[in-house]
Amino acid sequence: MKVAVIKIVTSSIIKHIAQLANLDLSDEELKSMSPQFSSILNLVSKIKKLDTTNVSETSQVTGQENVFREDEVDSKRILTQEEALSNAKNKHNGYFVVDAIFEE
């Protein structure tokens, strides 16, 4: 796969990435991140200098394939409602509670 080297990460790109990561960034933060992002990308792009002529593409390193489990219920691992909710900031009647998601 071809990857274009991004020399300058604009603040609009950072804004988009922040949005995807569900982060609120101030204008100040946006501005300061632009050079940081660029330098990280440039550092990582050094990997492109490696000669990979005889290396085949892969997305995993264990070499394993077809790792399955049988279709069985493992009730020992099922948490009780109390356990499941034990770390929740907000709960109500056995549910996790978050700020309203509006479906418009």
Partner: protein, 534 residues
């Protein structure tokens, strides 16, 4: 709107006349693709050992570190879920690629505990399939309106159409959100019991041209899913969810048509289709996706609503906006869901926690052997084996249970005594043919949920026996049978009394069951004795 709705094509009468006696027509055609999500009825979830049957359990009582997305928890793939996904792919005439893998689809939504959904991106379990459907695209040529023909009227004139399947892949379901007010504040409540339930997604090519075709396709898909037994596809529980994507294109301006001023209703429309189009190269520049519909009839309504909305916009020179919309089943309308637009950058990447899947050729051919008789194969067999019309066969094979009931009754038909008709080898001898049984079931003369196949045969036999032909006619038939069977007569005269049963059967067939055994027997003996010995 003055549109004339047709199956698959829509025609607008423009408000202006070109010049005298001429009206311009614009044709609109809807382009529809479907995404269907089906929850599998495995015992356990997709990547953990929690129950897949989440419905009706108290909230958050069916979770574990894996399906709650707790740090460090590792998913392990449910073998059965994968096999069932492949089975569905095969049933939908797909290719099963030798190599497959899972990917992470990243987005933030509260019902997704991990911040990503394990799904499949570029290497799904099944690709390039198709499903053939029967459509009824009959248009009344003089009124240019669809004929509201019932299946019966159309009978064998159903048209066949292939809907291409782009892919069938496997993923995990999300948690369920409820919206409520707690302590005066509007909140969303999350239940993760459903999180991680195996979910198959089926994606069609945009080959569907009307809401009716969509409905027919979905019905057929539903039958196949139920037939291979991988899901209950219970729409009330949300185990089958439909997302149509819809756009409308203008087909070329129809040649203007002569209009007789007085008889506007009698306009003759040029019925030849517009120039052949290359579907994939000629799709509209936008499409609208309607999310999560949970019934066939709502799907149909949502599609019709969208088509009308798009035509209206196009008619005003506007192009509909590409967007995601929700379906409001109470108001019967769709509404914009801009909130879902932001996150369409999913940054898929291969799931590092799950090694890829590679099939041996023998495994794939083994899967193929596991496919039971699919609805369309059964339909063809019913027509051939039982000499039924396509209409009858469609109705009998529509529900698996009805088909089984019919075949059970057929299998008993010729069992001596079953039909309660004494002295006869079986139902066939008194004129009960498969078509008779089919008629009884189709016309609901008996409730097959209450009446056993044995009882049904008895009912049919009773009614068949009730219609009796007059004596002289019976005599005529017997004489004819005797003359046709001199050998049998001779045998009888030489003392082979069991030949009587053969003759009796022949007579019964000759009178199409419209007599009873005892009468025929008496009359046969009488007439046999009247004929001289050989």
């Amino acid at each position: 709107m003055k549109g004339i709705l047709r199956f698959g094509r829509y025609q607008m009468v423009l408000p202006f006349a070109q010049n005298d006696n001429t009206i311009m027509y614009i044709n609109y055609e809807s382009i529809i693709g479907l995404e269907i999500h089906v929850e599998l009825k495995t015992k356990s979830k997709m990547f953990c050992g929690c129950y897949a049957d989440w419905f009706g359990k108290s909230p958050n009582s069916n979770t574990c570190p894996v399906c709650l997305g707790l740090p460090g928890a590792l998913p392990v793939t449910n073998k059965k879920a994968v096999e069932w996904c492949v089975l569905l792919g095969i049933a939908l005439n797909c290719e099963i690629p030798e190599f497959s893998k899972f990917d992470r689809k990243n987005y933030f939504y509260p019902d997704l505990a991990k911040g990503y959904q394990i799904s499949q991106y570029d290497k799904p379990f099944a690709i390039n399939g198709s499903l053939e459907i029967n459509t009824n695209q009959l248009i009344n040529q003089s009124t240019n309106k669809p004929i509201n023909a019932t299946m019966k009227q159309l009978n064998n004139e159903t048209m066949k159409k292939k809907i291409r399947i782009r892919r069938v892949h496997l993923e995990e379901d999300t948690g369920k959100l409820l919206h409520d007010v707690v302590g005066g504040k509007r909140v969303s409540l999350i239940d993760f019991n459903r999180s991680g339930v195996p979910l198959v997604e089926i994606v069609t090519e945009p080959d569907i041209r009307s809401s009716e075709e969509a409905r027919i396709f979905l019905k057929k898909l539903y039958q196949i899913i139920r037939c291979i037994g991988i899901s209950d596809a219970d729409m009330e529980k949300g185990s089958l969810r439909i997302e149509p994507n819809i756009s409308v294109r203008e087909t070329s301006l129809r040649a203007s048509v002569k209009q007789s001023l007085s008889a506007q209703t009698d306009i003759k429309i040029a019925t030849s289709p517009s120039a052949p189009r290359n579907d994939t190269n000629d799709l509209p520049s936008y499409k609208v996706e309607v999310k999560n519909i949970n019934s066939f009839s709502f799907t149909r309504k949502a599609i019709d609503f969208e088509i009308a909305r798009h035509i209206d916009l196009l008619n005003h020179g506007e192009t509909p906006i590409q967007e995601t919309r929700g379906w409001d089943e109470k108001k019967g309308i769709t509404y914009s869901q801009r909130s879902k637009e932001e996150a369409h950058d999913y940054r898929y990447f291969p799931e590092p926690d799950i090694p890829p899947i590679r099939w041996a050729e023998s495994q794939i051919s083994n899967f193929k052997l596991q496919i039971p008789e699919l609805p369309n194969v059964k339909l063809a067999r019913f027509m051939k084996d039982y000499q039924l019309s396509e209409y009858d066969a469609i109705i009998l094979t529509d529900e698996k249970e009805t088909a089984e009931y019919f075949e059970k009754t057929i299998s008993l038909k010729d069992t001596p005594g079953v039909a309660g008709v004494q002295g006869f080898p079986g139902g066939g001898e008194i004129g009960i043919i498969p078509k008779t049984i089919a008629n009884w079931i189709i016309n609901k003369k008996a409730d097959i949920n209450k009446v056993s196949p044995e009882k049904l045969l008895k009912l049919i036999a009773d009614q068949t026996q009730r219609s009796i032909i007059p004596d002289d006619e019976l005599e005529k038939v017997i004489k004819k049978i005797l003359l046709e069977n001199p050998r049998a007569m001779a045998d009888y005269k030489s003392g082979k009394e069991n030949v009587l049963m053969f003759l009796l059967g022949q007579v019964m067939r000759g009178v199409k069951g419209k007599s009873n055994a005892e009468d025929i027997k008496q009359k046969l003996k009488l007439l046999l004795n009247l004929y001289p010995d050989v």
